[in-house]
C-alpha cells in the first residue's frame, strides 16, 4: 500500500541530495531504482477540449496544457516565479546588459541571443527572423487573442541569425513574458489567414513533442520530436490527450487505469482519489484567489461611482463581514484543507506581499464593530441603522457546488451577527462576462457581494492597476472601462500603483504593490477567501511531474517517464 508513496518520498530526498551537488533543476534526477526510462505512451485525460493549438489564438487553459508540448518561448516562468531562459541563452536584464534604456530613460531595448543549433520539429533552423515574424504576425492578424507587450514594440532588429533586438517605445516592465511562444516563419509567412491553416491543429514548434493526430472530441496524439534540442529527451515516445466529458469521468478512468494522468480536479473531488494507492494527487496553491468583493457604491444598474452603498458604504459593516466570515471552517469542511487562506490578490511570485495581512474570523468582534457603529438589532434579528436594514445579496456563478455550499455557510454566519444575506446567483457567462454591454453586474455595479476567483499573472501590474486604481472604476462616463468593481478609491493606493508601473526595479515595484494592497485591505473592500489549488492526478507508475503555479502541468513533459 505505502510502497509507491514511500518510494516517491525517498526519490524526492535523493533528488534533493543529488540536486545539491549537480545543479540540474527540473531534471527528475535519480528516481526509483536507477533513473528515468525511455519509451512508452501516456494517455492523459482532459475534460475540456482544446479548440486550437496555435499560440496566437489560444484562449483556454486547456489549450496551453496541450500546446505546451509543442510551443516554446524565449523565456519561461519557473515554479518559484522567477524567469528562466527557454529558447534564449540567458535572461536579458539591466545588469547583464541585455536590457538597455534610452538616454532619456523613456524607451528600452531588449537583446535576445538564441541558443545555438535550434531546430523546428520539421528540421528547419530557428532564427531571429522567426522572433521578428512573431511580433509582426501578432500585430497583423486580427484574430489574435491580445497584443499585450507586442503593442509597445517599435521595431525588432535582427543583426544576425541568432540575435534579436526588441525595441520598445516605452518602459515595458513585463518584457520577459512578451515572447511566450515563437512562430515558425517558414511555415506561416505565405498563409493569408493563419486561422484557416493546418497550423491550428498541427502546429510546428520546438517543444519535446509534435502533434501527429488531432481528432476533435476524441483524442490528440503527440509523438516524440526527433529534433528536440535536449539530447535523450523526452523520455516518453508518445502522449495522447484523451477527451472525456467531465472531471468525474476522468477520475473514474484514472481509477480504472484507462488513463495515466488527468488535468484539473476540483478541491472537493480530491477525497475521491486520495485513498487510492495507485494514484498520486498533486495539490498546490495556484495563483488564482477566491474572494468576496464588496460593492462600496450603491447597488444599482450603471451605478454612479461616487454614490455610497447604504450598508456596505460603512467600513464598520465591511469589517464586520470580514470578521463574520468563517474562512477556516470553509476551508476545512468544504474544501477538505486542499487550499490555503489568502490575504491579497497576489498570492504567489516575486510580487507577492507577504507582510500584507487580513484579519481573521471573530464573530464577537463583528458584533462589537456593528454595535459601535450604531447598527442595532431589530425584532427580526437583523440590524438596522437610521431605518436602513442590514440586508444584502450575494452573487456567484450558478452550478458551482463548492461556491453554493459556501453561500449557505455565509447566510448562517452573517445571520448570527445580524446581517441578512440572500442568494442571487447568475450564470458565469453573464456574471463573469467582464463586459459592460453584456450586463456583467460587477461592471455595472448592480451587486452587494460577489464571490469569484481571479488570477493576477506573474507580472501583476495590469491586474493591480485595472482592479484597484481609482481611475479604473467602470461607469457610464468612461464607457464601462476598468475592473475596479468594488469602487475602491484611495489616493495613496493610486500613487503606489503609478509608482510601481514607472520603474523596472523589481524591489521598488514589489514594495509599491504591497503599499497599495495594504490600503485595499485596510478599507476591507474585498474579503480574501483562499488560494485556489491547482490539482492534477496521475498513476503512481508515472514519474517526473513537477507542479508550477505559473505554467500548466505539461510544462515539463519532457521529464516525464513511465516505470512499472
Amino acid at each position: 500500500m505505502a510502497g509507491p508513496r514511500r518510494a516517491a518520498v525517498l526519490a524526492l530526498a535523493a533528488a534533493l541530495l543529488i540536486g545539491a551537488c549537480a545543479p540540474a533543476p527540473g531534471t527528475p534526477g535519480a528516481a526509483v531504482g536507477g533513473g528515468p526510462v525511455r519509451g512508452g505512451t501516456v494517455i492523459f485525460a482532459l475534460w475540456q477540449e482544446p479548440t486550437t493549438l496555435a499560440p496566437l489564438y489560444i484562449n483556454q487553459t486547456v489549450g496551453t496544457v496541450v500546446g505546451n508540448v509543442v510551443n516554446e518561448g524565449l523565456i519561461r516562468t519557473d515554479a518559484d516565479g522567477s524567469y528562466v531562459p527557454q529558447l534564449a541563452k540567458t535572461l536579458p536584464t539591466l545588469e547583464n546588459g541585455g536590457v538597455k534604456l534610452s538616454s532619456d530613460g523613456k524607451k528600452m531595448s531588449v537583446t535576445y541571443e538564441l541558443l545555438p543549433g535550434l531546430k523546428w520539429s520539421d528540421g528547419q533552423p530557428v532564427t531571429s527572423a522567426d522572433v521578428k515574424f512573431t511580433w509582426e504576425t501578432w500585430m497583423r492578424d486580427p484574430k489574435v487573442v491580445n497584443r499585450a507587450g507586442f503593442m509597445d514594440i517599435e521595431a525588432i532588429d535582427t543583426p544576425n541569425e541568432t540575435t534579436a533586438v526588441v525595441n520598445y517605445r516605452t518602459i515595458y516592465a513585463a518584457y520577459a513574458l512578451n515572447f511566450q511562444s515563437v512562430l515558425p516563419r517558414h511555415v506561416l509567412e505565405n498563409e493569408a489567414d493563419i486561422s484557416k491553416s493546418s497550423y491550428n491543429r498541427m502546429p510546428i514548434g520546438t517543444g519535446p513533442f509534435k502533434i501527429t493526430d488531432f481528432r476533435s472530441g476524441n483524442s490528440i496524439t503527440a509523438e516524440r520530436n526527433e529534433n528536440y534540442r535536449v539530447k535523450d529527451k523526452p523520455y516518453l515516445d508518445r502522449v495522447i490527450f484523451k477527451s472525456v466529458p467531465d472531471s468525474k469521468v476522468a477520475i473514474a478512468q484514472l481509477k480504472a487505469g484507462e488513463v495515466q494522468g488527468m488535468w484539473n480536479l476540483l478541491e472537493s473531488e480530491t477525497r475521491d482519489v486520495e485513498n487510492e494507492a495507485s494514484i498520486k494527487v498533486f495539490a498546490d496553491p495556484g495563483p488564482s484567489v477566491e474572494r468576496i468583493e464588496l460593492n462600496t457604491a450603491r447597488n444599482q444598474d450603471q451605478t454612479d461611482p461616487n454614490s455610497v452603498h447604504p450598508v456596505l458604504g460603512d467600513v464598520a459593516v465591511r469589517r464586520a463581514l470580514l470578521h463574520a466570515t468563517p474562512i477556516p471552517q470553509i476551508i476545512d469542511k468544504i474544501l477538505f484543507n486542499k487550499v490555503r487562506p489568502a490575504s491579497s490578490p497576489v498570492s504567489q511570485g516575486w510580487a507577492s506581499p507577504k507582510d500584507v495581512k487580513q484579519e481573521g474570523y471573530d464573530p464577537n468582534k463583528a458584533n462589537d464593530e456593528l454595535e459601535g457603529a450604531g447598527w442595532r438589532k431589530g425584532a427580526d434579528g437583523v440590524r438596522a441603522k437610521n431605518g436602513v436594514r442590514a440586508a444584502l445579496t450575494i452573487t456567484t456563478t450558478t452550478g458551482n457546488q463548492a461556491r453554493e455550499r459556501i453561500e449557505q455557510v455565509l447566510i448562517d454566519a452573517y445571520k448570527a451577527v445580524g446581517i441578512d444575506l440572500r442568494i442571487q446567483n447568475q450564470p458565469s457567462s453573464v456574471l463573469l462576462s467582464g463586459s459592460w454591454a453584456s450586463g456583467d453586474p460587477r461592471k455595472r455595479g448592480s451587486f452587494d457581494l460577489v464571490m469569484y476567483a481571479s488570477s493576477p499573472g506573474i507580472d501583476p501590474h495590469t491586474v493591480v492597476s485595472q482592479r484597484y486604481h481609482s481611475k479604473n472604476v467602470p461607469s457610464v462616463a468612461n464607457g464601462g472601462v476598468g475592473q475596479n468593481y468594488t469602487r475602491f478609491k484611495d489616493a495613496e493606493a493610486d500613487k503606489a500603483i503609478d509608482e510601481a508601473g514607472a520603474t523596472l526595479d523589481q524591489q521598488k515595484r514589489k514594495d509599491a504593490y504591497a503599499r497599495a494592497l495594504a490600503r485595499l485591505n485596510d478599507a476591507v473592500a474585498i474579503i480574501w477567501m483562499y488560494e485556489r489549488a491547482d490539482i492534477d492526478a496521475h498513476l503512481a507508475d508515472l514519474f517526473g511531474w513537477k507542479n508550477n503555479p505559473w505554467q500548466e502541468v505539461t510544462s515539463n513533459i519532457e521529464d516525464w517517464y513511465l516505470k512499472k
Binding site: T41, I43, E49, T51, T52, Y57, N59, Q60, P142, K143, V145, N146, R147, A148, S195, K196, N200, R201, R215, S216, G217, N218, S219, T221, R238, I240, K242, S243, V244, P245, V249, A252, Q253, K255, A256, E258, P427, S429, V430, L432, S433, G434, S435, S438, G439, D440, S454, S455, P456, G457, T462, V463, Q466, G479, V481, Q483
Partner: protein, 317 residues
C-alpha cells in the same frame, strides 16, 4: 407521386427559411456570446474585444449578419467556427461518421428488437410475457438517459470492468473491431433501452387495434395459419404509426444523442452541438440546425411516401 414529392419539397423551402431565421434569432438572444470567453482574460483589453468583434463580423447589424450567412450557406460556404477557426463543413464531416455509427447501431437494434417484441406482446395480450415487457418498457421509457447511462457506466464499467467508461476506441491502438464493439455496447444500450420502450408501445397498441378488426377474423376463417395472419395481414396495417415513429428517428442518425454522447465522451454530432452551444459558436450551431431541420422535413416526407406503399388506399394529389 413525383409531382406530390416536388410540391412538398417546394413547400419546404419557406419553412426551412423560417426555421433558420428563428434559430438565428434565438442563438443571438442568449446572453454571453462568443466573445465572453475572451472577456474573462485579464490581458484582453476593450480594444482587443472591439478588434475581435470586427474580425468575426459580429459588429454588423443582425439582419446583415443573417443575410450574409444565408448567402454564403446556399452557395456551400458554411463559414468557419469562431472558436476553433475550422470550416464548419469539416467539423461536421469529422463528427458525422461517428454519430452515424452510433445511431445507426441504435437504429438497427431498436428496429430488430421492437418488431418481434411489439408483435408478441400484442398477440399474447395479458400474458406474463406481455406484462413483463409492458412494465419494463414503461420503466425505461420514463428513465432519463443521463441517469441510465451513468448507472450502466458505474455497474458495467467501474464495478464489473466489463466495458470501457467512454470514448469510441482505445486511444493509440490500431483499428480493432472487438475494441470498437466494446466501446459501442454501453451507449447503444442506453439509447436503445429508452427508444425501444416507445417503439414497442406504439407497435403493440396499433397491433391490438388491428387484431380486433373483422377482416382478420375472415383471414382466420379462410384457414390461414396464425403466423401468416399476423405477419402478412395484421402487421402491414398495424405498421403505419410505427413507420412514422421510425422515420422520425432518421434525423437523429445525423444529429446524434446529445446527452448520451456527452456522458460517454462520444466524438459525435451531439457533443459538437453541445460544445458549440456552450461557446456560442454561431456558424457551427447554424450549420447543424440547418441540416437537422432539413432532415426532419425530409423524414416526414419519407414517412408520408412510405404510407402510400404500405396502404394503397392513401392517394397523393
Amino acid at each position: 407521386m413525383g409531382r406530390y414529392v416536388a410540391r412538398r419539397l417546394i413547400q419546404a423551402i419557406p419553412l426551412l427559411l423560417g426555421i433558420s431565421v428563428v434559430s438565428f434569432a434565438i442563438l443571438r438572444a442568449v446572453p454571453g456570446g462568443p466573445l465572453s470567453a475572451y472577456e474573462g482574460n485579464p490581458y484582453v483589453t476593450d480594444a482587443d474585444l472591439a478588434r475581435l468583434e470586427q474580425a468575426f463580423g459580429l459588429d454588423q447589424p443582425l439582419h446583415l449578419q443573417y443575410l450574409s450567412w444565408l448567402g454564403r450557406f446556399v452557395t456551400g460556404d458554411w463559414g468557419y467556427s469562431l472558436v476553433s477557426h475550422q470550416p464548419v463543413l469539416a467539423l461536421i464531416g469529422e463528427r458525422l461518421p461517428n454519430t452515424l455509427y452510433l445511431m445507426g447501431s441504435v437504429f438497427v437494434v431498436t428496429v430488430v428488437l421492437s418488431l418481434p417484441i411489439g408483435v408478441l406482446t400484442a398477440t399474447r395480450q395479458y400474458s406474463v410475457f406481455d406484462h413483463v415487457v409492458t412494465g419494463t418498457t414503461f420503466a425505461f421509457l420514463s428513465t432519463p438517459t443521463f441517469w441510465l447511462g451513468l448507472l450502466l457506466i458505474i455497474v458495467f464499467g467501474l464495478q464489473l470492468r466489463l466495458f470501457p467508461l467512454g470514448g469510441i476506441a482505445t486511444p493509440g491502438t490500431p483499428f480493432d473491431l472487438a475494441d470498437r464493439v466494446r466501446h459501442l455496447v454501453l451507449p447503444v444500450t442506453t439509447i436503445a433501452l429508452v427508444q425501444l420502450g416507445s417503439h414497442v408501445r406504439y407497435l403493440r397498441s396499433s397491433m391490438l387495434e388491428t387484431l380486433g378488426q373483422e377482416y382478420l377474423r375472415t383471414a382466420h376463417a379462410k384457414g390461414l395459419a396464425d403466423r401468416v395472419v399476423v405477419a402478412r395481414h395484421a402487421l402491414k396495417n398495424a405498421a403505419l404509426p410505427y413507420v412514422t415513429v421510425v422515420a422520425l428517428d432518421i434525423p437523429e442518425l445525423f444529429v446524434g444523442a446529445l446527452v448520451t454522447e456527452q456522458i460517454f465522451g462520444w466524438p459525435g454530432m451531439g457533443r459538437l452541438f453541445w460544445d458549440s452551444a456552450t461557446r456560442s459558436d454561431y456558424p457551427v450551431l447554424m450549420g447543424i440546425l440547418a441540416v437537422s431541420s432539413a432532415l426532419i422535413v425530409l423524414a416526414n416526407l419519407a414517412a408520408d411516401v412510405f404510407y402510400g406503399y404500405l396502404d394503397p388506399r392513401i392517394r397523393y394529389s
